[in-house]
Point group: D2
Chain length 144, copies 4
């Protein structure tokens, strides 16, 4: 099973008036970490788009907040594939405190495979076989 | 049952490179619409915080995306209470196309009642009775 | 002279940990208000892009902050053309307190006319004559 | 002269519909890099605030855009003190392409020293002597 790990510090601009992270920021990080995960398994989203007119669009996202993150705290975002189906995959993003591994936030992105060749009308399609194989291998099922 | 309705246009800064709304923006709007909903039922969050040191923090959020929103499209965000319990309430936000009422996006915020008097350690508490009554009335259960 | 006026409330998600607006938000509003200004003078940026492959890109922006804006405060953003040249225009955005007209923030966007037909290589061009005439009229110089 | 250097990749969420960075993002990065710069010279903004009720607020910001940054491009943000006066300092942020050092964006933040002990009324004050000395040393004037 492959995973992408990012370490970052909570910055001033991430905070709300309570001094804790404003929750839509977590989704911005999930989106970025999803792209970095794809890159890590050699699936460059920019190339996928420009060369094959395929992207993984969002069908559903969700997030649970266990512990608020505060200014200058170090966090670790761990991203991996939680589920893989013909037309979609689910990415799981876990945010831990870098210091003691406490789970702070946990989120999911359900990303469906889209043919975006017509910019006005995206179509859900089956994940192409070569990409499915890469995702399957990253998910780790073949290693059983 | 009370609801808050906001009309807005999709602006350039809401878009991603595909020309559709970047999904964390929806959560920013949900957060703002939640506050406007509270204001509409006479629950001013700023006063609640400064006078009683109580806030409604996020325990969980989720969102489903049915249809992408594009530049300068007019949308309507309808916010109402979906569930009310001793310690939390769930807000439901529905985003429709203003022109034909198509459902584009649907999201939920599970907000728990927090005592924030200690800025370093927020505590989940029962929703105070006077506020619970306001929320219950806004939810519309008393009207049966 | 034409101007675009927007009234908005400061929302929770606009604030930083000091409880005042996080300054990049002002630029997001300037960008949106610029687009609304163009729309008001019948220059639809979406059409300009899709039909003529022209956009007004940023060469320079600046902003001065006189008074911090706080939660739920009502502000007014007034946008107008401050300067117009062959290849660019400068938009001026003034943010006032809605209640007493105090000037809170003042910003400028220097927008140059770009041929974006090659997505990898934007080129600065003279503002096309028909658009220049609309901008000149909006600036109000013809009314002398 | 001290400087803070950050390397980052342009992520999907940084882009606008043209596929280039949406300009308010640059200011978000400037703000974060300013805080990292302060940290680097041992001026922790969080402690400054909680222990001495002092912060460096924005009086003015500006930015020039020379070359658009695109998806997954690697950039380098270099931050240093450009000017230091009794009541304020100016931070200069230069963004270069990591690959060939091309200057892409250049920005300035004029930050004034604020007494924030009264949350409703911030007051501009002289930079305290011990902090001024740290900033002066970081600016490098003492090395002549």
């Amino acid at each position: 099973m492959q995973q992408n790990i990012i370490e970052r510090k909570i910055m001033w601009g991430d905070l709300d008036a309570l001094g804790i992270v404003f929750y839509p920021r977590y989704y911005e990080w999930f989106d970025a970490c999803g792209h970095l995960f794809f890159e890590k398994i050699n699936l460059n989203i920019g190339e996928l788009w420009s060369e094959r007119e395929i992207l993984f669009g969002l069908a559903e996202t969700s997030c649970r907040y266990f512990k608020p993150a505060r200014y200058y705290q170090s966090i670790r975002i761990v991203t991996k594939i939680d589920a893989l189906e013909e037309k979609f995959l689910i990415l799981k993003h876990s945010i831990q405190a870098s210091t003691d591994d406490t789970l702070m936030v946990e989120g999911y992105e359900n990303r469906i495979c889209l043919d975006v060749s017509d910019p006005k009308n995206f179509k859900a399609i089956d994940i192409p076989e070569d990409i499915y194989t890469m995702l399957e291998s990253a998910k780790g099922e073949l290693r059983a």
